[in-house]
Symmetry: C2
DNA sequence: CAAAACTGACTGACCGGTCAGTAATGTAGC
DNA sequence: GCTACATTACTGACCGGTCAGTCAGTTTTG
């Protein structure tokens, strides 16, 4: 057994371990307040080793953001293309899948991180906007379109609806990485998401 | 005319000017990345002067948070106690009033700031939670209670409902101080809030 | 023993915080 | 009104600690 022993040379596992540690610290402390020595220590290496794999603190930040979110996005897009039932259940499935894959994992800290650091990294913000936000919104737009065409949903202002759908799950994730760790209570995430969906689907539905 | 001339001694106006400048920088850059020299310069004084009014960077931070939010909160509480009509219109009035007094002003950056820095300032987070979040939630709880008792609203899980009501306006404010300044588009805030209220009130309503 | 992975002491820039000094304002005496 | 002195708001050069980034040297591996 030597998988996570110290003082081993494991070139290929280092980047992922360093990025995981960096995400932890960035989310908890912010970019500027994070010390690379701490990140390296948590990943089980020295600061010098970090610089063998990432050219600078900023490059580490970009890497953390970029490879943290793309997998989950692709999952969502295949979910949309394969789904057979009505738009209601598709919307529900997307939200709950997001929670399982992103919201409830360390990746759930990325929205908070991106929001906090957008001002300091305009190019990363731009990248995140185009590669993540635009794609998520387009995904939800297609779901709403499907629901409206099938007569399930009322034809409200679509762009606003998308944001209203997104806000509560995002706030849930942000909350978990900001005030909850300081002991400011939050009830069960599942109950919260279910109430959101209940309220949302009821609000969207055509009255019979 | 000498009100905002430089090199004047204006002891009593300094604290407010310094806090306004500090809020600007903290919201845009984050606490750690904000340089006090920049804050002082923007307020039209030198760094030394800042230290005549605030004992340290952290005390400046606390002052910015504390006196930024309490006035608006009191306004909301008097609105609740004086309102006469149904719960629907009260909820609507509260949201729109918040937008006018907080969301659309520089104070709207405080939620973003608090979220980003909660990990670095547990005591401030605690204070913010108890003095702001708990009070806002209790305010909304009373509104929902009133609506349920009057037969206007369905009796869903109250605590979750409160958070679902809060999330979209909060995200709107957060958005304005994170990605929008980087040129990532957002449509009209009023349209967004109205859709939120429409969706929400429809979702809450008892079906006849 | 050669190459590759890794280390940690070191450097230099940066910034929070200090304080001796400066300039504006107030005031008293003429 | 003017001058002399006291008070107080304000300044900015400086100090010391911190940390991103470097690199000469050490350890592991083939």
């Amino acid at each position: 057994m030597s998988t996570s022993d110290s003082r081993q040379r494991r070139k290929q596992a280092r980047p992922a371990e360093l990025m995981a540690a960096a995400l932890d610290h960035f989310v908890q402390r912010g970019f500027a307040a994070t010390r690379l020595e701490d990140v390296a220590t948590q990943a089980g290496v020295s600061k010098g080793t970090l610089y063998l794999y990432f050219g600078s603190k900023e490059m580490l930040f970009k890497a953390v953001i970029q490879q943290g979110i793309l997998p989950a996005l692709e999952e969502g897009e295949t979910l949309l293309s394969q789904h057979q039932g009505d738009a209601r259940s598709l919307l529900q499935a997307l939200v709950l899948r997001w929670w399982a894959m992103v919201g409830s994992t360390p990746l759930g800290g990325i929205p908070k991180l991106m929001i906090a650091e957008a001002g300091n990294f305009p190019e990363v913000a731009q990248y995140y906007y185009e590669q993540v936000i635009v794609r998520i919104r387009s995904l939800l737009r297609r779901v709403l379109q499907r629901g409206i065409e099938a007569g399930e949903f009322r034809p409200l202002d679509m762009e606003s609806c998308i944001d209203v759908i997104l806000a509560p799950p995002l706030m849930l994730a942000i909350w978990r990485y900001s005030l909850v760790p300081q002991g400011c209570g939050k009830q069960d995430p599942e109950t919260y998401l279910n109430t959101h969906l209940e309220l949302l689907l009821n609000g969207l539905s055509v009255r019979e």
